[in-house]
């Protein structure tokens, strides 16, 4: 806090000074209002807002104090501006130079303050963006000038900050945009002036804490931390990244207040390149070295250092992420926390290493940082549940063109599915299923009508013999999607999947650390060895897989997080080999409540047939000697596939058309009919929902905005294939959905009932015997029945009868009631 040039100030003396100087301060305050408003460093920095309001009500540009903008830095002191030789006038900000058209421009730039102001005011008054879908503009009339509505908002809410989207400026006036990007520290104050004039003209009576500050964001110049280069210095940039560290609040002196100890004359000195020059002589009484720094009358601003790391998606493979230091000022302090993903708009700075007067040589390195003007959290929406435009990847025109060309091909679906994990042989339907999962259905929000969100994500379970490259498929998917998570059921706990509360070692605050499911929001969570997962862990999945949320009540933190994730799970049979005589449920021993939440369940079995073997062998051998070029080609495919999926997920939102709805209804009715003929339910509404999702995903693959009959056909086919594999009753050979929904096939249930009835009959035929021996009853039943009855069946029958309140089982005796 002390400057190297300041003289030590006794705290006692400075406290004594306060009453005297308070009055003086007010005088000076009014003086400063009379000065030009270009004076950016008014002394009003430290008064509390309430103390200001107590005075006469004031409004208008002149009445509202200017707040300093340390984020813009002090333009006139930038080292490259060599003012003193060329321009004797001390105030260089609006210095003039004879430019081509006899216009006044700011020194070193081509910015004319008047024109710039005018242009910006015109922009504010006229800019209309009818296609805007930003969440910030929610509730605004899109056909009215956007920023005028925002100004109105400011007058109501009283928060004097105007966020301006740079792309709006660009589309309105490209030249203004260029100036803004190239000379932000000159142009933004001009914008400030312009907006304040406009604002107080329109709302002359509104009272603001300080003058409105313009905060531009979404500068298109730089997107990536890695692409920052020396040309970006002192320009406005927008980069994305993740906060990894924030510092404590640092009070930074903006203006030092000196008072003469002899005559109490006071003077103010502004910070110049991080230093304060102590006045050696008092101007009033000419005493030398009589001025003392008064700390609590000096002006400070808040400052915070934030370290931002490149987000993992932006990085080339095999390199480590870059970090950048960011300084936040005033109200932007403490806006972000470590772990937040943010977009930063700011001015890129490079400061030479401090020259040490005692050394003749210096390190020839600059320190770089960004003075932040605007923060935008990209994952904020995860909490609000709004649309995911944060994930928007920028596609070049050509890229979009190639993608669209690809989409126009009739066999795009087959092409894409074969491009998926080419090293895994065949399994076409499984790949198609996963492809549809990658695209996902259309998100529907019925929360306004009280029906809540409908799940758009497709969940898939792969089960099968060990060594059928299930893990490999999972690994591939995990590598393909930007927000993929890969966990193994064996190693993960419920906590690791959901969220846990941790004490931050630095701040001692409790922090909610999110687990794999939350992290893969809008992505895919790949869970290997699903069957090895503990029951408590699995139970977490119930909520996630249907409601797509995650509720947490831990250590005083109660919240519901969004986990709109698709689950791709792989499970091994309980016996090391798949037993074709058993149902899926029996083979993998998973609760049917969970199984019914999977849209598609595939079996990956060894087909054991010669032609297949031959093709497989060919495929594998080719894998081992393919030339470099072929591999190169494939890599291209993976990149295209990635972009294709990303594009479809962001821009395509298919809706059902009439025929498709009809087709879906028919499909559902058909499915129900199959079962009703045999007296069982063969489809539930859940299956219909799955069909819709799959049809929508298939429409997305075609880049079509409408779900048509072809989509429904494919959805039906895929769904049927999956059911054929997983829900075939091994006893009858029929597809029986109840295996998955209730865990038991209809025939098995029927059988159970029969046994129970037989048992009941037998007991009744014995007449009045209140208690029977368990073992004897079992033997009797076995003797009576034609079919073999196992102990399990017998016990089930007993339980069924007990549920009917017909009997109770206590130990080894069975009692009638």
């Amino acid at each position: 806090m002390s400057s190297p040039t300041s003289t030590p100030v006794g705290s006692k003396r400075s406290r004594d000074d306060i009453p005297v100087t308070r009055k003086f301060y007010r005088n000076r305050l009014s003086e400063s209002y009379l000065q030009s408003y270009v004076d950016m460093s008014s002394p009003l920095m430290y008064g509390t807002p309430s103390s200001r309001v107590e005075g006469t009500p004031r409004s208008g540009v002149r009445g509202t104090p200017v707040r300093q903008r340390p984020d813009l830095g002090s333009a006139r002191k930038a080292p490259q501006v060599d003012l003193h030789t060329e321009l004797p006038s001390a105030d260089g900000a609006v210095a003039s130079e004879q430019a081509a058209g006899q216009k006044l421009v700011i020194w070193g730039t081509d910015v004319n303050v008047g024109t710039c102001k005018e242009k910006f005011q015109r922009f504010l008054q006229r800019f209309i963006d009818p296609t805007s879908n930003e969440d910030e503009n929610a509730g605004l009339d899109l056909n009215e000038p956007l920023y005028m509505q925002k100004l109105e908002e400011i007058s109501v809410i009283g928060e004097p900050v105007l966020n301006v989207n740079c792309s709006h400026v660009q589309s309105f006036d490209a030249d203004l945009y260029r100036q803004l990007i190239s000379y932000p520290q000159e142009v933004i104050p001009t914008f400030d002036m312009a907006v304040n004039e406009l604002f107080f003209e329109r709302f002359p009576d509104s009272i603001l804490e300080h003058q409105i500050q313009v905060r531009p964001y979404n500068a298109l110049k730089t997107r990536n931390m890695r692409s920052l280069n020396p040309e970006d210095i002192d320009q406005m940039i927008t980069i994305s990244g993740m906060v990894i560290r924030t510092s404590q609040l640092i009070p930074e002196m903006q203006e030092a207040f000196f008072q003469c100890q002899v005559c109490a004359f006071s003077t103010r000195v502004e910070v110049d390149r991080g230093r304060i020059a102590e006045p050696a002589v008092c101007r009033n009484c000419n005493t030398t070295h009589s001025l003392a720094l008064i700390h609590n009358r000096s002006a400070f601003s808040d400052k915070q250092m934030i370290k931002v790391q490149e987000s993992p998606d932006d990085m080339p493979a095999g390199q480590t992420p870059h970090t950048t230091i960011v300084y936040a000022h005033n109200d932007l302090v403490d806006k972000v926390q470590p772990g937040d993903r943010i977009n930063i708009t700011g001015i890129y700075r490079a400061v030479p290493m401090r020259e040490n007067p005692r050394q003749s040589t210096v390190k020839s390195v600059y320190k770089t940082h960004i003075d932040v003007i605007h923060f935008r959290k990209t994952d904020e929406k995860r909490l609000h549940g709004l649309d995911e435009d944060s994930d928007q990847k920028l596609f070049t025109e050509e890229r979009v063109q190639t993608l669209k060309e690809l989409a126009a091909k009739p066999d795009v679906y087959e092409r894409l599915s074969s491009a998926l994990a080419p090293s895994i042989y065949e399994q076409e339907d499984i790949k198609k299923g996963i492809l549809l999962q990658l695209f996902g259905g259309t998100r529907k929000d019925f929360s306004q009508t009280g029906r809540g969100n409908f799940r758009a994500e497709v969940n898939i379970l792969l089960c099968g013999d060990p060594g059928t490259s299930k893990s490999q498929l999972l690994q591939y998917v995990f590598n393909l999607v930007p927000r993929g998570q890969y966990t193994s059921g064996k190693g993960s706990s419920a906590v690791g999947l959901t969220a846990y509360v941790m004490k931050d070692p630095e701040t001692k605050q409790l922090v909610l650390q999110t687990g794999a499911l939350v992290l893969s929001d809008n992505g895919i969570c790949c869970i290997d060895e699903f069957d090895k997962m503990s029951d408590s862990t699995r139970s977490v999945l119930h909520e996630v897989m249907e409601q797509q949320t995650l509720s947490i009540a831990k250590a005083g933190i109660i919240c519901q997080l969004n986990a709109r994730t698709s689950v791709l799970a792989a499970a091994n049979p309980v016996e090391s080999q798949w037993n074709p005589k058993k149902t899926t449920i029996e083979n993998i021993q998973l609760p049917h409540t969970l199984l019914s939440r999977f849209d598609l369940i595939f079996l990956m079995l060894d087909p054991q047939d010669e032609a297949y073997d031959r093709r497989l062998a060919h495929h594998l051998v080719a894998l081992y000697y393919q030339s470099e070029e072929q591999i190169e080609e494939e890599f291209l495919d993976m990149a295209v596939l990635k972009d294709y999926i990303a594009y479809a997920r962001t821009y395509i939102n298919p809706r059902l058309n009439e025929e498709a709805s009809q087709a879906l209804i028919e499909a559902y009715v058909d499915m129900r009919k199959i079962g009703s003929g045999r007296g069982m339910v063969s489809a539930y509404p859940r299956q219909l929902e799955s069909l819709i999702r799959l049809a929508e995903a298939h429409a997305k693959v075609r880049f079509s905005d409408k779900v048509e009959t072809v989509d429904v056909e494919e959805a039906k086919r895929l769904h049927r294939e999956a059911l054929k594999q997983s829900a075939t009753d091994p006893r009858t050979g029929f597809v029986d959905i109840s295996i998955l929904t209730t865990g038991m096939s209809a025939t098995a249930r029927k059988r159970k009932e029969e046994v129970a009835q037989a048992l009941k009959k037998m007991i009744q035929s014995r007449g009045k015997t209140p208690a029977m021996k368990y073992q004897q009853l079992f033997d009797d039943l076995r003797g009576q029945s034609e079919a073999a009855i196992t102990k399990d069946m017998f016990e089930e029958a007993l339980r069924a009868l007990a549920d009917e309140d017909y009997l109770t089982v206590t130990g080894k005796t069975v009692r009638l009631l």
């Binding site: 993992p312 095999g318 390199q319 480590t320 470590p338 040589t361 390190k363 020839s364 770089t368």
Partner: protein, 628 residues
């Protein structure tokens, strides 16, 4: 000699600054010079020569691994200084330098800001002692005068500068006249050869920077020694990746100012300067360590190393292909000798020896989406206890240029850091034992594992090892997320029973001999080999790995037929996974014989040894009963 050109070359060009291509020319010049035969061996190596014998601002080379990549930094590419006496402005060049000259005019408009990046480089982890020794000796043979007499160091800077002025004239003549042929005759041989005699052994026994041991130099493996280096990279930033092994040619900078700047903590100066006060002391220590311990190297040129075997010609030139073709003739005989040697080592088990040989030449040659191809993790089960595995490692270490033995005791698994982790306070990547160079032999000794409980870090370590083996990748811990780094590490697991880690292939060891004294037995085997013989093995193993390989259509067909037939007999026993493994075995088997295409014989052989191996594991299973 040559190294002085650097200073001569840069400065005048920069001062005039008339020719913007001078930078490219400098690089061209050095690359051209280094391409000359043997010329790279004139350059002293940081690996071999203790730092204090190297002249600052001279050209040196460094064989290293990129351990961490720091943020890019902006520096003054061109700056203006004001001469205090004449008041004249002089333009100077800041490239390849850490510090500026006095009187920098920070407000000058001629300042050009340029970008460079710093890599933190460490010597190749786990480099075998023999590799170090041979490269040291070969360097010493060619350049007896690389290092300086200690007394020279005491001379003042001015004198050095004088030298620089006069030396080039002296040097250019012999250089054009073919200095390469007579490197012994150097103009200033003032006791160079003497120094060589006295210093060479000492630098072997005491590592170049002994004093560095108490400062954390962030070596991946514990117990490593050698200089770490901050390499400033100017060109081709994107072409470098983490964990690359490089031979870097650059200008050494050990300016004491670097240290002073870092050490100086004048509170009054720091307080108002926002940028400097922001760096934590840890960060400063990591990014600006004293130059005497971690020298700076301004890279002129870097050669990616395919291998670090000093016995092989390193540059991919025509003499390498000549070397390869001459060695190919010998290949089969060397293989037979090596196999015999390994059979002895593995207590007379020929099959295990065969597999060990294949394992030693395995290499991830490509990746198909997530699947690494060519990896061949071997699990030698049934290893005798006591110190057998340790001796086995020593023998492997004698054969490969890079290796590390990880004793998987419960304590090490729980306490050791295997996976590199980003330390955000110091802003550096804290290394772990799995940050290894390509083709490093990782020897996992599971016989050391005892009963007990693994804690969470132990479980993480085991998972990391499993990932390494199955996918050849390590997920570095960036605390908020993980980042995947592909690797290429040969993992050999020795265990009593079947290993708890996955492996591509398990071979139960069946000792044919039971020597009463294991130590003695292995030592005698080892001693019986001549160095020339061992050297042949070393060349063989490194070379076999680099050969190309292909499968003809005809053989492809045969393999397919074979697979179908095998499946017909018993579909349960032969799976796709088995075919994967057999294809790798066939590949390695062919390469080990110096054959670059798969022949029918090769395939049959591969099938045969795989069958032998399988029958052995079956046998083991039925013996133990409880094996899964």
């Amino acid at each position: 000699m040559r190294m002085w050109f650097v200073c001569r070359f840069c400065c005048p060009a920069a001062q005039s600054n008339s020719n913007p291509e001078w930078e490219a020319k400098v690089l061209e010049y050095f690359k051209g010079q280094l391409r000359e035969k043997e010329s790279h061996s004139w350059v002293p190596s940081l690996n071999d020569v203790p730092l204090h014998y190297l002249k600052p601002n001279s050209l040196v080379k460094f064989r290293c691994l990129v351990q961490d990549m720091f943020d890019p930094e902006f520096y003054m590419g061109v700056y203006e200084t004001v001469d205090p006496s004449t008041k004249a402005n002089v333009l100077r060049c800041g490239k390849y330098k850490d510090v500026t000259e006095c009187g920098v005019d920070l407000n000058s408009r001629n300042t050009v800001t340029a970008e460079r990046q710093t890599f933190y480089c460490v010597p190749i982890p786990g480099e075998s002692p023999w590799a170090k020794e041979i490269s040291f000796l070969s360097a010493a043979r060619v350049v007896p005068s690389t290092s300086y007499v200690p007394s020279r160091q005491k001379r003042s800077y001015e004198e050095d500068d004088d030298d620089m002025d006069t030396q080039p004239q002296k040097q250019r003549e012999p250089h054009t006249g073919g200095m390469g042929e007579t490197p012994q005759i150097q103009p200033h041989g003032n006791g160079d050869s003497k120094r060589q005699e006295t210093e060479a052994p000492s630098s072997q026994t005491t590592a170049p920077s002994d004093c560095s041991s108490h400062l954390d130099l962030n070596f991946p493996l514990p117990g490593e020694r050698g200089p770490a280096c901050l390499v400033k990279v100017y060109e081709g930033l994107d072409s470098f990746k983490l964990n690359d092994t490089l031979e870097i040619y650059g200008i050494l900078s050990v300016n004491p100012v670097l240290t002073v700047l870092g050490e100086e903590k004048d509170p009054s100066l720091l307080l108002l300067n926002p940028t400097e006060s922001m760096e934590t002391p840890e960060e400063q220590r990591a990014h600006d360590p004293p130059a005497s311990l971690v020298p700076r190297l301004h890279m002129l040129y870097a050669r990616p190393l395919q291998h670090n075997n000093p016995l092989l010609p390193s540059a991919p030139t025509e003499d390498q292909s000549a070397f390869v073709s001459s060695f190919l003739v010998e290949m089969a005989s060397v293989r037979a000798e090596l196999l015999a040697y390994l059979t002895h080592v593995l207590l007379g088990d020929g099959l295990a020896a065969e597999y060990l040989l294949l394992h030693l030449i395995s290499n991830v040659y490509t990746r198909r989406d997530v699947l690494p191809l060519g990896k061949f993790t071997l699990n030698l089960s049934g290893c005798p206890l006591n110190s057998y595995t340790e001796r086995l490692y020593q023998i492997v270490q004698q054969l490969v240029p890079c290796s590390y033995r990880l004793s998987m005791s419960l304590h090490t698994m729980n306490s050791m850091r295997l996976v590199p982790k980003k330390d955000y306070v110091a802003n550096r990547l804290v290394s772990g034992a799995l940050q290894l160079a390509r083709n490093t032999s990782l020897f996992l000794d599971e016989t050391q594992l005892e009963q007990g409980q693994l804690d969470s870090s132990g479980v993480r370590n085991i998972t990391a090892l499993g990932n390494l083996i199955s996918w050849q990748k390590v997920d570095y811990d960036f605390s908020y997320h993980q980042m995947e780094f592909p690797c290429n590490i040969n993992v050999l697991v020795t265990s009593e029973g079947r290993s708890l880690l996955p492996s591509d292939c398990q071979v139960p060891l069946q000792p044919q001999v039971t020597p009463p004294n294991m130590e003695e037995y292995l030592t005698t085997i080892h001693m019986a080999q001549f160095t020339s013989q061992i050297n042949k093995f070393r060349v063989y193993l490194s070379l076999a790995r680099t050969l190309d390989y292909s499968i003809s259509d005809e053989v492809t067909k045969a393999v397919e037929d074979d697979f179908v037939d095998m499946r017909k007999d018993d579909p349960q026993s032969v799976t796709a996974e088995d075919l994967h493994r057999m294809l790798v075995v066939a590949r390695l088997l062919s390469l080990s014989l110096g054959q670059t295409t798969l022949s029918r014989d090769g395939w049959m052989r591969a099938k045969h040894i795989d069958m032998l191996r399988r029958s052995r594991t079956e046998q083991q299973k039925s013996l133990n009963g409880n094996e899964p």
